[in-house]
Assembly symmetry: C2
Homo-oligomer: 352 residues x 2
DNA sequence: GCGAAATTTTGGAGCGCTCCAAGATTTTTA
DNA sequence: TAAAAATCTTGGAGCGCTCCAAAATTTCGC
């Protein structure tokens, strides 16, 4: 690959002049400029290599996006939620003329990826592994975390998940539901985990802040209806597990109201209900969580605890790009009532 | 920001030793290593800056993805098709341990983005503007183009769109349809363009290779049924235009079979049909194009000309990452018959 | 036609790092 | 204990570029 010097040599001018031809052509006499351009063409020189500029300028003009949890990028894009995150981050980058780098990383390579990513800052999806935060801090780049509060010196944006969970339960309770089931998120790999009625808080509450808040919200609102969360079956499935829906119906046959922790899960529940001939909302009500675009398109359309996912990620990207003093933002949620929730069946006919 | 030299100075060792501490710690005596690490901690040095390494190593270990057409990244992620492209490219990058950079670019900034993107290669979505190809060539980096054939010296992957279009028409003709409408893609910004029956080929065939091939396929298969494409109304809408569906029903009220050029468009047609109380496939049959995951989830599910979008993008990424000799690949398509196509209504009741 | 002013061109410094041959130190061997 | 071997540390070169002060050249005014 020829360099500025090679072109200069060929054209009989100095490196500086060649650089000017490409970056500030108005500074170079037209005649000379043409000579240089001809030499560049002859050598197959396609303009200054960004690598050199980079070192001088010191910034990549890019921010890195680490997908939530242990997702691979491709899985994130598949997920309704992750996809909207990406849209938000991308639109902020677009607006700022920055590049969005999708930083992948298995559990083994994540740290190295963070150390070596060619970016000026990071957006971290829901962070499961706290080492990730330490690793990013070490690079002394601006960053923002989604759905985890990492202290006053770190940008973070989370939703008011507790209120959302409360709203979901109240809505269902007001409709008359008494038999609930919770479809929660398993943050490790593996098949569904089933917590049968009688489980203890400790088994449930371990883990991730967002999930914790939602469970607390469920618990508090169930208490308002004189119900204990300990009597509600809780199933944990990994995001994207296509069997989430069948796990619920298999393990919670008497539930009339299923509360989930993501629209994606709720959608698998609707799919499975259709497959089994279970009427939603006639026999079972289903509530999603997230408020993705997909939730509005299901049959029946999905009642869900919605928030502005795109806006959340956009804000995160803006925080990183602006690199101001750290902020912790809590975003509101809103229960969007659609077609997947209704009164419980008045007589409780046995379901198969 | 402290540098290797600063740390070396503070620890009383040379730059080289500090570099070794971070990159090949086994080469440094434990005692010294600790002294260096302590100095680094004290200075807040978080490890070697990737910028320096980069210049030395010469590669970014990243490939750039330019969205199809004039999409912004966010729009691409929103689109069912673009999203699957992204999944494919991301999974290949994941597998290779490379980063995927989403290179944005408005019409004005695209060239500059290409010139300066910090990547080792490019995937170009459907290229509308031929200058983009020239611009990428100038950087002398490996690249692959989707849905455009740019000659034997350029990697390209396209689908056998003509066959797909033919299969769609034959399927509908075999069901008995005689009155078709085509929902085509407008590759410039603006509202729907309506070509009423009697239009000329020239008005239609201008533009983008992929669309051209599909129209030719439609034309050929219509001819088999003794129909001329000139008598078939053609509507062009931009990708993602939510009014695509209503444009079709407004302008083609007698059509019993609507052939589209993307699942996204077809989905808006289904939505609009539901809104207007038009039964699909009872009154109108609809065929999509692409075979996205969304097409399987609509109500009714969408008959569509499918191909392996994820695989296409994955292959493109692999071509770029491998940097072998250029190949031109044509991928097969397959008509997937689902619920959105059926016999035309036997009596032709007027629709409102 | 000459000096001053304006315009063009030059090449060194430096961005932060890795590599590597050479030098310094420690350990082993006879 | 001295020489040989093994181990550890050093600092220069170089990656390709941009910036900038200074030098070279051209243009201008009278």
């Amino acid at each position: 690959m020829p360099t500025l010097d090679d072109v200069g040599l060929a054209a009989g001018v100095s490196r500086g002049t060649v650089s000017n031809v490409f970056n500030r052509p108005e500074l170079v006499r037209p005649e000379l400029r043409e000579r240089v351009e001809a030499a560049a063409r002859a050598l197959g020189y396609g303009g200054p290599d960004p690598k050199g500029r980079l070192l001088k300028e010191g910034r990549f003009n890019a921010i890195g996006f680490m997908p939530p949890g242990a997702y691979a990028i491709a899985e994130m894009v598949r997920s309704p939620y992750g996809r909207e995150l990406l849209m938000g981050a991308a639109s902020a980058c677009d607006a700022a003329g920055a590049t969005l780098s999708l930083v992948n990383g298995t559990d083994e390579t994540r740290m190295a990826s963070i150390r070596e990513a060619l970016v000026d800052g990071f957006i971290l999806g829901n962070v499961v592994d706290i080492d990730v935060v330490a690793s990013v801090k070490r690079r002394r780049l601006p960053f923002a975390i989604l759905e985890s509060d990492a202290g006053a010196d770190v940008n973070s944006i989370r939703i008011d998940a507790r209120s959302g969970a409360i709203a979901a339960v109240r809505h269902l309770a007001r409709l008359g539901h008494k038999r609930f089931a919770i479809l929660s998120i398993r943050r490790t790999v593996g098949p569904a985990i089933v917590h049968r009625p009688g489980h203890t808080d400790r088994a449930l509450m371990a883990g991730f802040a967002l999930d914790h808040q939602r469970l607390q919200g469920f618990e508090a609102a169930l208490a308002e209806a004189s119900l204990s969360i300990a009597d509600v079956p809780v199933i944990e499935t990994t995001p994207g597990d296509p069997h989430a829906g069948s796990a619920v119906f298999d393990h919670c046959p008497q539930a009339t109201a299923i509360m989930t922790m993501s629209d994606w899960q709720a959608i698998t529940v609707l799919d499975e209900a259709r497959r089994r001939g279970i009427d939603v909302p006639g026999q079972v009500s289903v509530v999603g969580f997230d408020g993705t675009a997909e939730a509005a398109r299901t049959m029946p359309s999905l009642t869900t605890v919605a928030h502005d996912i795109v806006g959340k990620a956009r804000l995160a990207a803006e925080m990183v790009l602006e690199n101001g003093s750290p902020r912790q933002v809590v975003m509101p949620v809103e229960l969007v009532v659609r077609g997947s929730t209704g009164k419980p069946p008045s007589a409780f006919p046995a379901r198969k």
